[in-house]
Structures are given as C-alpha cells and as structure tokens.
Symmetry: C2
Subunit: 204 residues, 2 copies
C-alpha cells in the first residue's frame, strides 16, 4: 500500500522570485521533493542533459503531446514550446513522492483544472503587504502612481483566488520555510491520515 | 486593523502524551502561542499562582460561569470542576495572538461546537500506524488480543473525525515540529491572507 505524493505548485506574478525560491528549496540537502522536469522544443544549451534539465523534444513530438493530452500545462514563448509532461508527474506521485512544480500563473490555472487536488501556493511580493503604508502615505505621491499601484495590487490579489496558500517572499529563506511547513501540514491533514488508517483496517 | 489569532486545540486519546508535547512546545524560547489558563475549583497547591497555573474559583463561581456560558468546555473530575474560560481565549485571539489549548477529547468536541473555526489537532499514538504489522503478525497472538487491539484502533480512528489534522506522537520533538508547521501553514491559508489584503484595499 503506497500513499500518493502531493503535487506542489508554486506560482505567482512575474518577477516575484519563484525561480530563486525553487533553487533555494532544491539546494537544501534534506529536501523531500522531486522537481518536475519540463519539456521544451528549444535546443539544449551546452551542458544541459536530456531528462535532467529538460526533456528535449522536436516541435512535432511536442505537438503530438499536446494532442494526446500528455501535458499538464504548456505555453509558447519566443517561438518555443515549454510544458510539463503529465506522465513524469503521475509516475512520481504514484511512487509516493511529492512533486514540485514552479510555473507561471497561466500554467498554474491549467494545472488546477487537471489536478484540482494539487497544493497551490501563491508567492506574493512583499510590496503587497505594504499596501496600507502606501495608501496612508499617498499624499506624497502623484494620483497617477497611487492609482497604478492600486490597480496592480488588485490584480495580484485577484490572482490569489485559485490558490490554497499565499506565501510572502519577504526573505527567500523564510519563504522556503513556510513552503516546507505547508507541505508538512498537508501530510498531516486528517482526510489523508484517516483514510490511510481506514485502509489498514480494511486489510483485516 | 488587528488580525485575529488562531485557536489551536491539541487533543487525543488519554495516555498519548498530550501534556508532554504541550510542555515541550512551551519550553521552546521562540514559541508564539499563548497558553490558555484553565479554571478549577480545586485548591491551589504550594507555589501555584492564580491566573498563571489556574484561575482558582469557588464551586459557586464556577457554576455561575457554566450558567452564563462563559466556559469553552468543562468537566468534573474527582469532585472538582476543570474548564476553559472563554473570556481569556477571546481576548487573546482578539489581540492577534494564537491560543493553545491542550484538552481531553470530550472537551475538544465541546470546543468544536463553540469555535468551529479553531484548529483541531489530534495527537495519535504511534502504535496506530503499526496497525498493519499487528494485523500481519497476528498469527502469533491470541484472537482475543487481536480483537481488542482492532477495537481500540477503530475507536481511535473514529475519534479523528472531529479534527483537522492528525499528528503522530512517535517522537515528542517531531510531533512539536509538525504542530508548529501546521500553525505556520494555517497562517498562510489563502482565505486568511486574501481577506487581509482585501481589507487593506477597502481602506482606500
């Protein structure tokens, strides 16, 4: 009896530091997550290894994956496809390992549709929690600047809807600790644990 | 604008080590929780301080608290009342601090009714997760012993229903770490965080 792993999806507005947080998490020697390797049609750069850095695919192969619904999410960027192969994710989860995905918000919303049971974490810019200060001190800013900041803040808060958790990226180390705590907590959720115990009893 | 604290309720079958876990949590210098002081009608022992160890009450005072619904939960034990005054809990939560309650399962189910938004953590005996081994090796045990173990396990698993999280008390330090992680994670839940941001925007 093998318990399934968790699919952890880290996303957030561009520029918030998702990549930095992901690298920090995977630089920790005791990290328990498997990193989901993306597929791409772009050519390998020097030193990049197929299956480690990316799954390198031809355009034809990639489009076949799209047609066969074998991508959790994908996007085209500067003439190349990038996406998350679903097979790798499913196999790793089935092996009881937690899979970590770091993707753009558009990708995250595609994943949510296919994997609603995933753990969706929104990385928020620390500037968001300074909203109050910015509002209070707005007398010193032009109306224009205040308005555009409020609009950006509203859009970012709107994006959160899709997510289970919001982690503020005030300090990379703190953000990583919070993410690790969220995963530990999710593994303790009663629904997960009770189900496991009940299954044990059914063996009887 | 003050965000409310979390009410953390630690409970579990008797003998599971709730008191030990609670003491370990409060022995940590950086613990962020406030311990909920109980009320009792028993006499203070030497060195016990009113308002620190217990709120010491007369039987008359305690029964007045019951009538006025000023206890989150209470029970009578060896001729004395023990209970959790609701005022202290509410005031501490309103001040934005997390309150930690360590109580028996009967008390926890009373608290759940009055404080459904609390964070209910079930401390599980490590023996539970050895269920499988015990079932597999039952050939070496009498039918009687196997049956009574299965019954106890079923009852303990049944108790979990009320709770949000299950923490196995395999090692006190690990159990405390998990509890701390659960609280960190709960503070990152989107509903809590998004609501906070939205409130900030409303100020505008």
């Amino acid at each position: 009896m093998q318990e399934k792993g968790l699919l952890i999806v880290l996303s957030g507005p561009s520029g918030v530091g998702k990549g930095t947080v992901r690298k920090e998490i995977f630089s920790q020697p005791d990290t328990m997550f498997e990193y989901s390797v993306s597929a791409t049609t772009r050519l390998p750069r020097e030193g990049e290894v197929n299956g480690v850095d990316y799954f390198f695919k031809t355009r034809e192969e990639f489009e076949k994956m799209i047609q066969e619904d074998r991508l959790l999410e994908f996007a085209e960027y500067v003439g190349n496809y990038y996406g998350t192969p679903v097979d790798y994710v499913r196999e790793t989860l089935d092996a009881g390992k937690d899979v970590f995905l770091e993707i753009e918000v558009q990708g995250a919303s595609q994943v949510r549709k296919k994997f609603p049971e995933g753990l969706f974490i929104f990385l928020a810019p620390p500037s968001l929690s300074e909203l109050e200060n910015r509002i209070v001190t707005r007398g010193t800013e032009t109306e224009e600047i205040v308005k555009s900041r409020m609009k950006a803040a509203r859009e970012e808060i709107e994006m959160m809807k899709l997510y289970d958790y919001v982690v503020e990226n005030d300090q990379v180390e703190l953000a990583c600790e919070r993410i690790n705590s969220i995963v530990v907590a999710e593994h303790c959720r009663r629904e997960r644990v009770q189900y496991r115990y009940k299954k044990m009893l059914e063996v009887d």
